[in-house]
Symmetry: C2
Subunit: 322 residues, 2 copies
DNA sequence: CATATTCTTTGAAACGTTTCCAAAATAGTT
DNA sequence: AACTATTTTGGAAACGTTTCAAAGAATATG
């Protein structure tokens, strides 16, 4: 592999000059530039980005740390994140933690060693204390204390919206169905908004929550179905949970939406080929992704960020289940 | 940031010694090791992986170049690839090309500059000439000439299997439905296997193919539906195409599987919550991913590879559409 | 105890860049 | 022509590691 030195030799100039040609920095006479460019051509020289990163003590690598790229919500997010990063010449490193605390820490450590420029983190655990100050980090849907800026959909409004839509669709006794995740997760606001709106409207609601993760789905749903036979509307905390409920309800002879209206959260279905098409609170995935990256850029450049949490509006997407 | 030099100073030894402690290379007396370890502790030193990569002239970064991580088939693949890479301490860089030739080349160039250890490529274009010899590459589902090892599901057998299953399900006039992709794509073997098996069994088949990409889906399906009313079985080249067909057929009053049996290819549905549950030829995604990475490891280590193409067996997965 | 042998440590070079200061070349002014 | 001011170039240091030859220390051998 030809190096900048070889180019300098062939062109009969100093390495510094070649560097200036490559980077368009500093003045260099047209004739010198031509000589250098010819040498570059002839030697098939390409700059060594690793050496450059090393020398500059910074890279253009951003890491995305999430539970699993297999999850369609995350893969859509990753798609837009990569796209936004590429616009500024940044690269994306992908880390699947499986949501396991030890793996999250392991990756965080690795990323530090690799001196990534920044991290977008979607973690199940509080990483506030395990993340060094010298590496900017933005989280999605997780709101920690200080260092970490959070981008999230407006979960609270989403919860309110879900309740209103269920009521509008005719539900008299709606239920919130979810799991109790980490206290740092913004998703609990979905429940809060839901409950608050119910109080405002004077609607009676059921809250059904079990500790996360739900290992025994059968038990989870059986308990709900036997205990809450009078519920006629469901706001499930994710689309997958909504779909899972509908499938089981069907087997119990419950029809959706005739007997029970169902609204999910996420809006992961981008193809209308599979049924039921869920009514759902759609997260603005693209906006969240781009916003997260732009905030990260600001942090990387050392600009102060006004807000701790950035909430992006959600919309209701009508499907076949309300 | 503390460097190895600071550690050496504090511990009162030479940098080389610290290096040997960190890497467990060469002999170092227990007492010296302790001193060094204490200094590391005290300074909160962590090795600079970038400097290491630079010095060693190699990194543990592998790039995955694909059209879009949003596609569920690719996101599952990426999941297993990352998992397999992580087992050996490799990291994954994700590049979405959108299938655009210029973007594929742009990324290839960038990866070269960044001296990645290897590439897993799923490209729409012939990259054989644009990939340097010094960087190992394995492709998935694309079979080029020499340099690039290919991992693929056994498309040919998949095609044969699909035909047999359609016939078994009662189809008298099955059709192959697809699009003509690059000549390098292994997917055309799905058609070949399908046709060959039909000939062997003496079954009359319809081949319906349009140039890729299909821009006007309406036209694509309308033409098929009007011209091939006698078809009673479909082997669609992907699950998405199968799902799309079923949706449109339904609107035309065609029932699946009563009137037409449908088999897809991929097996992307991992949750049985959405209907129809497709009958499909399931690609062994996990095996393909792990195989690709292990072949890449061999290439990285300079081991000669016996085979050019590695075909992994597929299985038929019964759904609701046959 | 002297010497040979083995084990451990040192110190410097090298990896490919960028950047900065000084030197050289050129241009501009009298 | 002699200066000065400006533009362009050269050369070296620095970034944080690894590695290797050589020196130094410890241990074994007779």
């Amino acid at each position: 592999m030809a190096s900048i030195k070889d180019v300098a030799n062939l062109a009969g100039v100093a390495v510094g000059t070649v560097s200036r040609v490559i980077n368009n920095s500093g003045a260099v006479k047209p004739i010198t530039r031509r000589k250098v460019e010819e040498a570059i051509q002839k030697l098939n020289y390409i700059p060594n980005e690793v050496a450059r990163n090393f020398k500059m003590q910074k890279s253009k690598m951003v890491a995305l740390l999430l539970p699993s790229i297999w999850n369609p919500f995350f893969s859509e997010l990753a798609y837009y994140i990569e796209d936004e990063l590429d616009r500024e010449g940044f690269k994306l490193m992908l880390c699947n933690s499986g949501g396991k605390p030890e793996k999250e820490l392991y990756y965080l450590d690795m990323l530090r060693q690799n001196k990534v420029a920044g991290i977008v983190g979607i973690t199940y655990n509080d990483i506030e204390n395990n993340v060094s100050n010298d590496i900017p980090i933005v989280s999605i849907d997780r709101h920690f204390n200080k260092k970490i800026t959070c981008v999230t959909s407006d979960n609270y409004e989403g919860g309110r919206l879900a309740l209103r839509e269920l009521v509008k669709a005719g539900s008299r006794k709606p239920a919130f169905m979810g799991s109790v995740t980490s206290v740092f997760s913004e998703t609990m606001n979905r429940r809060k908004g839901f409950v608050h709106e119910a109080q405002t409207l004077g609607v009676d609601v059921v809250i059904y929550e079990k500790p996360d993760p739900i290992v025994d789905e059968d038990a989870y749903f059986n308990e709900f179905l036997s205990e809450h036979g009078d519920v006629d509307g469901i706001f499930a905390i994710t689309d997958m949970l909504a779909a899972s409920y509908i499938e089981r309800a069907r087997k119990h002879g419950i029809r959706v939406p005739e007997d029970v209206k169902v609204i999910g959260y996420d809006g992961i279905q981008d193809h209308p080929y599979f049924h039921p098409i869920l009514s759902t609170i759609r997260q603005p995935v693209e906006e969240m992704a781009r916003m997260a990256i732009r905030l990260l850029y600001n942090k990387i450049e050392g600009k102060p960020l006004e807000q701790q949490v950035h909430r992006i509006p959600v919309i209701f997407k009508q499907g076949e289940t309300t």
